[in-house]
Symmetry: C3
Subunit: 348 residues, 3 copies
């Protein structure tokens, strides 16, 4: 009874958080035909500030971490991020009726990390008195950026192959052309991805956070503006999502299934990778739990602006809806599962 | 002597406040032919953030108030807001030489509430040791939104009737057409008003404040940015006001009279409504004073952006000038009057 | 050894500061062909907020200072600012291969003041237990605005003379025309300069800071946003600087020489003026040191947005590169020199 009440309360609390509330608000406004609009230059500025903030934060936390102890879990985190996206590209993005672009964007978000879900995991471990490494926060960018770059790269490669395939005609020709020009296409797409405004801003922030000393401007400007500008971005994305919802209705069941099953499968992946790091380098049980929580989480903060800018063709109502609406509550509700699993496998 | 010095000091202090100082600064820049300009997308973003803030703040304070004790004073506050606008529409807006649009916008601002005047009233009551209900802050949106919606609705209905009247020719035809299509016009205008960017943003903020939990983003983003963005909005409005001052000079005497007499008449209305609530539900004497202060005050914060976006045809030099330049100082100077009146009518 | 280490550490710390890090980051992005861009309306908004902040801060500090004790050092500061720009206009701006516009903009920045260099000087004096006047902060705007206005005025006058000269043909005709219309041109340029968006915003802030009471909005909005918006402005300027670097390479040696010799010559000018004020009014030895530090410093905060808006033709890679890249580290490294000089000349 208490359990049921707690689950319901957690779900309602998720919906009441500004991120989701502004997203829903934007959808309601669009549904009611409101004439509210956010000018494009303002949208571009918001995305720039958000991505610089994510990059700066990641750079600062990597710089401050002990790099040697960080190496193994960081590689594990990056591999898990890539694996989640590859898994999504073989499952969701190949589902009949799901556009490859939308499927890859969704997989990218589910591979990326939610800072608030991670924080919820830390708070739960603290409450149970379970210790974990101090550098856990620095693992965030490894999984996050690995997943987003992989997803954007795969989505663009798919789009490029499709563009090549159409004039070529038959399926055999397509495959051989894809094989012949594969390296050139990958190089071009990687260059394009790095030059895209979204990845440029993210990497600039990362470099300045790593090599510079932007702590003061980060704390006085980027950090305080972050949640506020995010709320306005969510409003924009909600209005857009509603305007494009018609297309999504046909395929909603695949996204709903992915939104529920994904966090559990991804969390298990993260748990396995954490367990390997535990046996290799003595990574703590608390750290294993938090790696699972990161893997189970789907990005509701860093991911949407990156994908929105890098894959403008993808439908936000698909990826943001699935991630923020289904994936995040499921990920938060599954945290006790990873704690129980770590207690069983390692002992806490 | 002390009294005179205090009044002068209060007036000078009003003019030195950023709100009025930036308004005057904008007028001076425009008068000097400065090429300074604020780009339109930035203006739209500022208005969006300001209206979301006002809505969020109202929603949060309504949610936190005791709804049953709040009901009677809230209805009283809303009725007073409507009454002030109706009074203005029969007096100022019918004055020869005052454009109906400008008159209604001015009446709307005088019906709306100034948070800083209300705060001044609370500080004076605290200094005199007079108690009042804790939920007073939650009455603000009732009077504020009721007045603004009424003013916008009446102004738009007037504009629509005028548009219908011109092709119809004679006065009799106009009246009959207004009667026949009256309901349709009201419905259309109400729909248009709700869909307008200004009211959309205000209601969105209200809904999220009421149903969500935006306290953190409100405190870290919307609240701190509010006064700053308002200062830039005032600068824009000052520049615009000067550019349109030529039209106002012909009718300035009507606005000056309304700016002085309005706060006293409106305060008396609010005092009467508060007195009724006192006899009905035991509303405190301090509460009655603050309802009078709210009614006497004219909005210098929430009102201008709403009206600016909803009634772009109205002249800011008329409504902002009358409200911020004349109405607000008169309202603040009249606070001791309502305290003395409450002492005489109820006893403190 | 310690000395060498300290100098290297100071230089690296300069490069790691957000101002320079974002400037370099913007150059690297542009060099890599990134498609990142900041929309023009956002750029205009950033400049407006930065200039209002600089003006407001200056106005507030002038208002709070003791005006009589302030007068002599303030006049000295303004004269030093003008002298530095005149010196630059006779040297750097006349160097073969240096465009007059770029040379004047650079001289303007070297005449203007760096708040962070000034703060470094204050911290060093505090550490040595050397006293100085409390109103020193209020001298900043006098030197800063005097230098910027002089530089903009001279650059515009030069451009106007050049425009007149071209149709006129021969050198003799140019001189006589310049002489005949000189007063008209000066008046026109002064009017244009005052009406320019940059100077309008700066003077508006100054007036409101001086006559109004904007302390609250200054502390809650303009101050916290300042460094953050500056970081984005630096990013824009870095991208622009790279795009125009080709032109600068030919003349780089002149800028490098000015960037190294300038702060030492200007500091000596400031020291001399301070010494005169010391003998005239008893201006403290600490004050003399700080006047020298101010003169040696080159603006990395207030100057770039002012010049960027007032002299859009000037190349930021010249003036920002020389000032932030060379002038500021040299100025900081020369602070101990002025302390030693004051000890020798006055005794501390």
């Amino acid at each position: 009874m208490d359990m049921l009440f707690e689950i319901t309360a957690t779900l309602v609390a998720q919906l009441q958080k500004p991120t989701l509330a502004f997203l829903i608000g934007g959808m309601v406004l669009a549904a009611m035909g409101s004439k509210l609009e956010v000018p494009t230059p303002v949208y571009k500025f918001i995305v720039l500030v958000l991505l610089l903030k994510v990059g700066l934060g990641a750079g600062i936390s990597v710089r401050e971490a002990d790099l040697i102890a960080l190496a193994v879990p960081a590689i594990a985190a990056a591999l898990v991020g890539v694996a989640i996206v590859l898994l999504g590209s073989r499952t969701l993005a190949r589902t009949r009726g799901v556009s490859r672009m939308d499927g890859m964007a969704t997989a990218g978000l589910f591979g990326a990390v939610s800072a608030s879900t991670l924080a919820a995991g830390m708070v739960m471990l603290d409450a149970e008195g379970i210790a974990y490494e101090g550098f856990i926060g620095a693992l965030y960018p490894f999984m996050d950026i690995a997943a987003l770059v992989t997803a954007i790269l795969l989505a663009r490669m798919g789009a490029a192959r499709a563009a090549v395939a159409i004039p070529a005609g038959g399926g055999v020709a397509t495959v051989s052309m894809g094989g012949a020009n594969g390296d050139g296409i990958v190089r071009e797409i990687l260059t394009d991805t790095l030059k895209s405004p979204a990845i440029s801003a993210l990497l600039l922030g990362l470099a300045i956070g790593l090599l510079g000393r932007p702590e003061q401007v980060y704390a006085s400007f980027y950090e305080p503006l972050f949640r506020g500008l995010l709320s306005i971005l969510m409003l924009i994305m909600g209005m857009e999502a509603w305007a494009r919802l018609g297309e999504m209705r046909k395929v909603a069941h695949a996204y709903v299934f992915y939104g529920i099953a994904g966090p559990l499968a991804h969390g298990a992946l993260g748990f396995g990778a954490g367990l390997a790091a535990h046996y290799l380098t003595g990574f703590s049980a608390g750290g294993v739990v938090l790696l699972a929580v990161m893997a189970a989480s789907s990005s509701d903060i860093s991911g949407p602006p990156t994908l929105r800018a890098a894959l403008p063709e993808a439908n936000p109502s698909a990826y943001v809806g699935t991630s923020t609406g289904i994936g995040t509550p499921v990920a938060i509700l599954s945290i006790p599962l990873w704690i129980a699993l770590a207690d069983w496998a390692i002992g806490i």
